[in-house]
């Protein structure tokens, strides 16, 4: 199938997917016990005050009516207003997405740059200290809770060793953010040519990114290792060797074939990283989408929660679309 048709079909799916996600999210969020009007009114508010706020927010209307109004607004690009920030949810998301995408992308890049070669290497050489380390790491990685690891890293590198900066987000508390271009301090400071800020932003990125890398890179290492190992024992590699092809060529064939499942795992991991960012951002005061989601849930901020869920769904859908395209490039036999 041509890429254009694939894109068109996936975009049509995407609309249906997002409608489904919006619907489920809307009703699930309203099932959560809690009353945002009560939280907004604060301590000591009377029943009359709380009912008044409910009317102001439109929560006194029947749920189906609220749902239809919500869908209508979403269709018009209006995700509603956050009850607690006072901003449109779209504006809140726009402000926070760069921080989150920057963090998870950095973690993803490090995971790929280290994890894929490491996995391939230990797939090739199944003995040796590095293979044993990779094996133990692969076993441990699934059992490490990201929030716990983040706290341990902060304790060791910030509190004990004083190597890392304070877990205060993207920059030190007393530093002013660079002029807003992308919303990610690391990139914006680079664009502004401010090397002090860039160094600070890079330093602040280390521990949260490392937390995510250590927890989520294991899947990539394990998949690369087993794929490579399998490829090296395959018939086509045996055949290539028997034909007297040089090792570098045999290796290239094996790597190319081993990469397809690795790419799938990379794509999944990218999605998992977004989930992981929810707690890691909170621990490192990152100020991104994950922290916003936690705060929204704590405050029963209905529109903010559904907005986050929609944004996350869109993120995942785009990743899977890219995955399909990359897959087609890696393996021309695949048709959609």
């Amino acid at each position: 199938m041509h890429t254009g048709r694939l894109l068109l079909r996936r975009l049509l799916y995407l609309i249906v997917q997002l409608w489904g996600v919006a619907t489920i999210a809307f009703f699930l969020v309203h099932l959560i016990p809690g009353n945002p009007a009560q939280a907004l009114a604060g301590s000591g508010a009377s029943a009359q005050s709380i009912h008044g706020i409910e009317r102001q927010l439109g929560f006194d209307k029947p749920l189906p009516q609220q749902y239809v109004l919500y869908l209508w607004n979403v269709l018009h690009g209006n995700l509603g207003d956050s009850i607690f920030t006072g901003q449109t949810v779209l504006h809140d998301l726009e402000q926070r997405i760069p921080a989150t995408v920057g963090l998870v992308t950095a973690a993803m890049l490090i995971s790929v740059v280290i994890g894929v070669p490491l996995g391939i290497y230990v797939g090739l050489k199944r003995s040796g200290i590095l293979s044993r380390i990779a094996f133990v790491y692969g076993m441990l990685t699934g059992a490490l809770p990201d929030f716990w690891l983040g706290l341990v890293l902060i304790f060791v590198f910030f509190y004990l060793l004083r190597w890392a900066p304070a877990p205060l987000g993207q920059l030190d508390a007393i530093q002013s953010a660079p002029p807003h271009v992308t919303g990610l301090s690391l990139i914006d400071s680079l664009l502004a040519g401010d090397w002090v800020l860039f160094a600070s932003a890079l330093g602040h990125l280390v521990l949260p990114a490392l937390t995510l890398v250590l927890v989520y890179m294991g899947n990539i290492v394990k998949m690369a290792r087993s794929s490579m190992s399998e490829a090296m024992q395959s018939g086509y590699v045996e055949h290539a060797r028997a034909m007297g092809l040089p090792n570098s060529v045999v290796l290239r064939y094996a790597v190319r074939n081993a990469l397809a499942p690795v790419v799938t795992v990379i794509a999944f991991t990218y999605g998992f990283l977004l989930g992981g960012a929810v707690l890691v951002e909170t621990i490192f005061s990152w100020g991104g989408l994950g922290q916003y989601a936690v705060q929204s849930i704590t405050n029963s901020d209905y529109f903010a929660i559904t907005g986050f869920v929609l944004a996350a769904a869109l993120f995942m859908a785009v990743i899977y679309l890219v995955l399909d395209l990359v897959y087609a490039v890696l393996d021309p036999r695949i048709e959609y």
Partner: protein, 542 residues
């Protein structure tokens, strides 16, 4: 060879950024040497509109941006901390945005004199008509009209008259023993109404939308920047009419994880931190050599267990009394609060006006007496009860466990129903719980009548009267307390109110919980105010 190169690359990826971060961490420590203070807080203010104060952090920021109409006189308190004088009632109020006031002999007409030259951070002056507008806005706003209700103002157009630019007259239907103290409640604070009124529209006659994100500051500080989810930066308000504050800039930095707030204090990266656990406060105290300290005061925060009067075994007085005698008060103070809390004797803390006294609350831990009372209520073999607990408050869970253990000694099996905060509120306000609700709160006005109306009010749910306590004499005293002027008659009525509360065991009065902050040693001058927030202009930085 290739393996060596790979390992080197792996090490470089991890080490180089850490080297970068080392430099940036050094720069952060310079904050402590300037008049800039970094304050580590679990969350930021969510709005700039004082009418809506969701959460302590919103209240704290807004208390520093806006100013009160009147303030409490300050006096020496425990642990070397200055405190609001709350025991002298209306007589303890002193100037704020209002310079002075006169009260008619019958107590129904207040003539209020505004300070001349209250210029907000955008340069507009607050005048009498602006105060009238703020009162009107408060009365018309669902989130804060409890303030004007407490001030006995229900119709501003009829009750509030602008006499001149700096004078306002408020006529009340009857004397109001809490009027001045209600003017100190933070939901009704003086903000730059002259500026806010410029943003009124037909659709939004009270400028709610504009006030969400904009702060026309009348207080010592103004909002310099707000990065959602990251920080709010406050700097000195150049138009502030009071004494110049010592601190130039406050960086109110969101650090959601409490252990990180502790690490920041110990590392010198933050100079103030709030909402630390008791263990973390101990850690600060043990590390005084690192230039940090804890300041705590058990003032007006009360930890209580509301008992269900409507249903179940706790609807019987003898059962409630048995539970009050079975409560392990000392254990809770020592093991949960690490001795930072005090006993709570009854409905209110000891710094309330017309406080009945510690000895009027007869319930001390006495297992034998508790068993006898339980048997007399028809439960010689004990009973099963359920306590509703907010899972978002770890201290509440600890107390629930201690209660469970203590109650088991008298044969009461206590089931702990722990719910997330929102679900907890739903169950408590919706009266969808078993026998006991464990909660903590505080009153803005330290008056038994105000307190009882909020926490044991006679209005319909949802209200804080979780246990649905109803008593005719109690309600009569509550109603009379509003309009009875301060004096011996009111004092007698207020004491009777507290006596009924004690006699009926409306709550298990668990503890007078502390308000605590961690400071670096170069920050001093903390003053306890009724709202339990830090007023930054009270502080001095060495």
């Amino acid at each position: 060879m290739r393996l060596v190169g790979f390992r080197a690359a792996l090490v470089a990826l991890l080490v180089v950024p850490v080297a970068c971060s080392n430099g940036s961490s050094q720069s952060s420590s310079s904050s402590s040497s300037s008049k800039t203070v970094v304050y580590a807080t679990p969350s930021l203010a969510l709005t700039m509109d004082p009418c809506f104060l969701p959460g302590q952090q919103t209240a704290e920021i807004l208390q520093n941006l806006y100013w009160e109409w009147v303030n409490y006189k300050v006096q020496p308190g425990p642990n070397g901390i200055q405190v609001d004088n709350t025991q002298d009632g209306e007589a303890a109020m002193t100037s704020g945005v209002l310079d002075s006031w006169n009260i008619s002999t019958d107590g129904t007409v207040y003539t209020l004199h505004l300070h001349k030259g209250v210029i907000d951070s955008t340069g507009n002056e607050l005048k009498a008509d602006d105060m009238r507008w703020i009162l009107d806005r408060t009365a018309h706003s669902a989130g804060c009209n409890f303030v004007t209700n407490t001030e006995s103002i229900t119709d501003v157009s009829k009750q509030v008259k602008v006499m001149d630019d700096y004078t306002l007259q408020v006529t009340l239907p009857a004397p109001d023993a809490q009027f001045l103290r209600a003017l100190n409640v933070n939901n009704g604070m003086a903000f730059g109404a002259a500026t806010a009124r410029k943003h009124v529209t037909d659709a939004d006659p009270w400028a709610y939308e504009w006030m969400k994100r904009n702060a026309p500051a009348t207080g010592p500080y103004m909002l310099q920047s707000w990065t959602p989810g990251v920080e709010q930066v406050l700097v000195k308000n150049p138009h502030w009419f009071g004494p110049k504050p010592s601190i130039d800039k406050i960086i109110y930095r969101q650090v959601p994880t409490d252990s990180n707030r502790l690490a920041l204090m110990l590392n010198g990266s933050a100079q103030i931190a709030r909402d630390l656990t008791q263990d973390e406060l101990d850690n600060i105290s043990k590390n005084s050599s690192k230039g940090v300290k804890v300041q705590c005061i058990a003032a007006n925060q009360f930890m209580y267990a509301a008992l269900n009067f409507a249903n179940g075994p706790t609807s019987q007085l003898a059962v409630r009394q048995a539970l009050a005698y079975a409560t392990p008060y000392s254990d809770i103070l020592s093991s949960v609060y690490h001795t930072r809390a005090k006993r709570l004797y009854g409905m209110v803390t000891s710094n309330y006006v017309d406080y009945l006294g510690d000895s009027a609350y007869p319930y001390n831990t006495d297992v034998n007496k508790a068993k006898q009372l339980l048997a007399s209520a028809g439960y010689p073999n004990g009973l099963t009860a359920t306590v509703l607990v907010d899972a978002g408050q770890p201290i509440h869970s600890q107390i629930a466990v201690l209660l469970k253990d203590a109650f088991s000694k008298i044969g009461v099996t206590l089931n702990i129903d722990q719910k997330p905060t929102a679900a907890f509120q739903d169950a408590a306000f919706g009266r969808k719980f078993g026998d006991i609700v464990l909660d903590q709160n505080y009153s803005f006005i330290l008056d038994p009548d105000y307190h009882s109306q909020v926490w044991v009010g006679y209005g319909p749910p949802p209200s804080f009267n979780f246990g649905s306590f109803v008593n005719d004499e109690f309600i009569g005293l509550q109603k009379a307390g509003v309009t009875t002027p301060e004096g011996p008659a009111r004092a007698t009525a207020m004491k009777r109110l507290q006596q009924i509360f004690n006699d009926q065991v409306v709550w298990l009065s668990v503890a007078n919980a502390p308000t605590c902050f961690a400071f670096s040693n170069n920050v001093s001058g903390y003053v306890w105010h009724t709202h339990n927030q830090i007023i930054f202009s009270d502080l001095k930085v060495a």
